[in-house]
Structures are given as C-alpha cells and as structure tokens.
Amino acid sequence: MEKFIKLTSTVVPLPIENVDTDQIIPARFLKATDKMGFGNNLFADWRYNKDGSPKADFVLNNPTYKGSILVAGKNFGSGSSREHAAWAIDGYGFKVVVSSFFADIFQNNALNNGVLPVVVSTEFLAEIFSSVNTNPEVSLTIDLEKQIVTNNATGNSETFAINSYKKDCMLNGLDDIDYLLSKKDMIEAYEKAIK
C-alpha cells in the first residue's frame, strides 16, 4: 500500500447523496479476478452512453473539473460490500474522498486500499461545493498527520477523525494482514482456550 501523508489538489464535485457502490462500479464489471482496470468503469452508467461514448453532462467527462480528491454528498458508498468500488476510485486516480457521511463497509475498504475517506460537517461540505461552483480551480489540502482539511478558497479548515491505528497504517503504507499475521500465537492460544 502507498503511504499517504499530505495532499493538495483541485477537486471533482459530485453533489449527489447516497451514492451506492452499484453506481461506483456496476455489478457487470465484477467478473474480473484481479484488481486492475476498474478505474475505466468508475461510475460507468453515469459516465458512458450505451454505445460507450462519454455522457457530456457527467462531471468526470467535464474537463473543467480534475484532481485527486472526490467530494460527494452524504452517505457515500452505501450498499454492496464490493471492494471493487475502492479499487475503481483508486484506479481512476482519486486518493481522497470527502463527504459528510460514509457507509461503514466502504470506509473500511477505502482505508484498506490507501484511499482516505475524510468526513466533514454538512456545513463545510456545502461550503466546498459552493467554492468549487464559483471557481473550479479551487483546491483542498488534506493533512493526515494533523488530521486537518483546508478549503484553500476560504482558508477555512476542519479537523477530521480517524482512529490512530488506521492513521498509522496510512502514514506508513502498512496493511492489516501484516498486523494479523504477527498475532498468530495469540490466535492459536484463543482457539485452545475456547475448546
């Protein structure tokens, strides 16, 4: 997993609520047996016409908006547990998703793939959307060490929560499996104890 420390980037706004994982990556793209290539199908049904041509009105097809931060409406990533959603977001090139609220499983999946979910207040989310609406060149800065997200248009910032274990994993590019494998003795001891 890649390390994540600090990032400043322009953003891609998606002011839709309850964006479910079926929208992030539709089920018909889940037939692969590896993690590659999902970025091309990120938001496929919103992004492409039936013939595969891009839909002009979808934000990913609008050259005005670019960057490695996706900003979305509340309850992002609801629905299916498919980690393919996190692979698609990562594969497209997003390193951060900002929303006022994330679904639990998506949040875990994102963190396990080095994509940082940043939870902001409803008011701050509205401010970011408004800033980007006024000026698409506006950037956000995400400082994981200090747990601060800054809207560089207004200079306003907010702190965001992340448990210190996951923060440590992100800062150092470590994953949970390494941690669990180091606990094998404890697992075997647990199994003996319950028998």
Binding site: P15, I16, E17, N18, D20, D22, Q23, P26, A27, R28, L30, K31, A32, T33, D34, K35, D45, K50, G73, K74, N75, S78, G79, S80, S81, R82, E83, H84, A86, F101, F102, A103, D104, I105, N108, N109, N112, N113, T122, A126, N163, S164, Y165, K166, D175, D176, I177, Y179, L180, L181, K183, K184, M186, I187, Y190, E191, I194
Partner: protein, 463 residues
C-alpha cells in the same frame, strides 16, 4: 449487564489494538466467486496457506446462470471466474466447496442456515453485505471487503472497530397480509438508508418474536439497507427447533452443551443501548418502493412524497431518482402496469417465500405481458418446492421455475431487466441499474409480487 451483541463480541476478542480496532475471531466464513479471487491471489503472493480451511464454506452463486447449469457457462469471463473459484478451492484444499449443480449449492446466505453452518452465538463474515442475514440466529454476522476476506483466510480474524448498539422494538402484532419484508421496508423508510450506519441492531418485540426463522432472516438481511453493520435477534425455541438436526449443527452431547450456552444469549434486563427505536406493528401496511434506494418506500396505497416534504440538500437526488423511475412527486403507484416480477434472492428466496407466492397464484393465471423469474435460493429449496407440490401450482398458473442463484437481484448473469421496464422485485436493492442498465425496480414482499404477476399491475394483495 450486557446486550446480546456485547456477549458475543466479547467472547470473540483475541486482542485489542491500542486506540484502534479489535481483533475478532471468526467462527464461520462464507465465500463466493465474485469477491474472493483477489483474496486468494493475495495469499499466493504472500506464500500463505488458508489457516483454517474447515471454517470456510464456498458456494458459487453471484455470477451464475439460472438455466442449463449442467452445461458449460456461455460467457467466457464468467466461466473464468467460476473456474478460478474451483482452482482456488482445489489449490488451498478447501473441504466445503459447493460448485454449480451440487445439492448444497445456492445463494450463500440461504445454504448457510439450511445446512446448519449458521448457529447462535457465532461470528460470521462473508464478502457480501447481506451477511447480516445470519444475525437472525443470534449471531454477529456482517459483510466484509476482499482485503478482509484475505485476512480471514490467512488468520481466521478480522480487525473491526466496535460498532455502537441500537435496539429496534416492534410492539404488537403485524396486520393480516403484512410480511417480514414489509416490516423491514417500513423501518428503512422511516430510518433512511444511512439511519443505522455505525450501529449493530438488535430487533425485539412481539412482532419479531412471532416471526419464523425464514422471516427473521428477511428482516436481518435488510439491516444493511439502513446502513447497519448488522442486525440480530436473540435465539429462542423457534431458533433451536430450526437448527436442530441440520447436517453441520452440533449432535448428541455437543448439542446439549451448545443449547445450554445458546439459552444465555439474550440482552440482560436493564442493559443499555446507544440508541433505542420503537415502532407500532399495526402502523405497517404492505410496502413498495418508488425510488432508487431502499429507504424510498411507502405503503402500497400511499402517494410518493411531494418535493416540499424532502429536505433541501436531498432534493437533487430525489428528483434524479424519480426521473430515473419515470414517476412524479405526489403520484400514486397502485394500478400502475409493470413488466417483470422477480421472486428470489437472499432476501426472499427461501421456501416460505415460495409457499406465500404459490398460495396466492393458485388457480389463477399469470398476466400475459409479465415476464416472471422465479429463482429458488438453493437446490434444497428447489427440491422442497417440488416435494410440497408448489411446482405444479406454479406451472399451472403459467410460471416457470429457474435454477438457484442470485440472478436478477444484481443481474451479473443474463437475468437482466431491460432499460425502462418496471420490475416488482422481492430482492433488496432498487439502485439505478441494479437489475440491468436502465431497469426500474420496485421492491416488495412475495405477496405483493404475486399479486403484480397475476394482475400485471401494482396491486394490493389484500383486495
């Protein structure tokens, strides 16, 4: 004083990471072909074995055809995924592997309980959000991502942040003609799709106690649709009677020992929940959804909310949703023509669902313009449908029975509803494109689905 959730969680803690998640031991892991290949690849890359192969049950269900399962799968990419699943089962010496056609094959959340893999007091995971189904037995069961599937395969553990607890109580009895699915859709419509995010739910109250195991599974199955980490119901005589005698359930002295423990699995009087919600069961009517998430539901006789009833931040999404569905705000849906009916899925693909559907259509005829997909949740359900004579009732009413799988619930196979067509579906999600690109899904229980299949319209089954 502990809640049911606390008792089971605490009994499975291997260690706790300081200021971080809990290392939780997993008793049963269910595994299917779509969310596991990358996890098995991960093991190979790290040179690891599966740590406890007998604690993983494997079934192919998501990406499988529901006709001609005895023949090679036509789509080469799907076939490759199924072959990969088989190769992984062989390579890692997995003893509980149920490929297409096996009598124990079927939808993962249906074969688990019916074979006795699912038991009270267990921790259960699967790379599928509807793993919450197994909570019906008084288990902590939740969906995980593929990285976590890899963790379970490698160590039989996952790292989880302890969720908050919520109790949802249903007072009184359900009205006649109101099913467990209606109860769940009603609850989600009140709490919204994110209303229980961060919580693990315990369902309680008279209406819940009166439910059969099949119905309890329907309710717990839909917990994820309001964002809950999972949902559970304290085990009781109904639970024990269901589990008893099933192939992988404890036997003899082991049964007695297990039963004694299972009887302690209930929330202590006075134990505190982080949140308590109470509903009156008599308020619940047969439900349908009108929008593109399961929280957008209403009583079958009601009207779609008008725009002024929707909070401002949600209006763009609300309008986008109605536009997709081809509905107007304030509109009534009763009497609207529909094109497809789907009976099946981990939500409503069990034998009781087929009994309800068959009982309604008995002696009637399917509407000519309706395409109906009746998909049993497993081969065992399929067998029972035939043994109980339901097959004859269904075929006489003009219905065909397909072969088990997830089918049109997520439409990974050919069971796709065409763009613009309306489907009354007993599954769990009405998301845009869920049942095929452009498909318009109306979620409902098996009884409402049966009525729609007969009249070809959205119909109140009580009339």
């Amino acid at each position: 004083m502990k809640t049911l959730f606390d008792k089971i969680w605490d009994a499975h803690v291997v260690s706790s990471v300081e200021n971080g998640p809990t290392q939780l031991y997993i008793d049963r892991h269910f595994c299917h072909e779509v969310t596991s290949p990358q996890a098995f690849n991960g093991l190979r890359e790290r040179g690891l074995k599966v740590f406890r192969p007998d604690k993983t049950t494997m079934t192919a269900d998501h990406n499988t055809p529901t006709i001609n399962q005895d023949q090679p799968v036509q789509d080469p990419i799907s076939r490759n995924q199924l072959d990969t699943f088989a190769q992984n089962a062989a390579y890692f010496n997995m003893p509980l592997y149920y490929p297409l056609g096996h009598i124990k094959n079927g939808v993962v959340h249906i074969i688990g309980p019916e074979n006795g893999f699912t038991q009270p007091g267990m921790t259960i995971v699967c790379g599928d959000s509807h793993t919450s189904t197994h909570g019906a037995f008084g288990a902590i069961a939740f969906g995980i991502g593929t990285s976590e599937v890899e963790m379970v395969l490698a160590t039989q553990c996952v790292l989880q942040t302890r969720p908050k607890t919520m109790r949802i109580t249903f007072n009184g009895k359900l009205n006649k003609g109101v099913s467990a699915k209606d109860l769940a859709l009603y609850m989600i419509s009140k709490l919204t799709t994110g209303g229980a995010t961060g919580y693990f739910v315990e369902y309680a109250g008279e209406a819940i106690r009166n439910l059969s195991m099949e119905e309890r599974m329907t309710v717990c199955n839909l917990s994820i649709e309001m964002g809950a980490r999972g949902g559970m119901i304290a085990p009781d005589e109904t639970t024990f009677a269901y589990v008893y005698g099933r192939e992988f359930a404890p036997k003899g002295a082991e049964w007695d020992k297990s039963l004694a423990y299972w009887k302690t699995l209930k929330t202590d009087e006075g134990a505190a929940f982080d949140k308590e919600i109470v509903f009156e069961s008599s308020d619940i009517q047969p439900m349908i959804t009108y929008g593109t998430n399961p929280g957008m539901g209403m009583g079958i006789n009601e009207s779609i909310p008008t725009l002024d009833k929707v909070d401002e931040a949600g209006r763009i999404s609300f309008q986008k949703s109605l536009e997709y569905m081809g509905f107007e705000a304030g509109e009534k849906l009763e009497g609207k023509p529909i094109d497809y009916v789907f009976l099946g899925s981990c939500t409503n693909g069990r034998i009781e669902d087929f009994r309800v559907f068959a009982n309604y259509v008995k002696g009637k005829k399917k509407a000519d313009h309706v395409t109906a997909w009746l998909v049993p949740g497993s081969w065992m359900v399929e067998k029972q449908i035939r043994e109980e004579g339901l097959y004859d009732i269904l075929t006489q009413a003009g219905f065909l029975l397909r072969q088990p799988g997830c089918s049109a619930c997520l439409a990974m196979n050919d069971d796709k509803v065409p763009a613009g067509k309306y489907a009354v579906s007993t599954s769990n999600r009405n998301f845009e494109g869920r049942q095929g690109p452009g498909a318009r899904t109306i979620l409902a229980g098996p009884l409402v689905a049966a009525a729609a299949a007969i009249t070809g319209k959205i119909t109140d089954p009580r009339n």
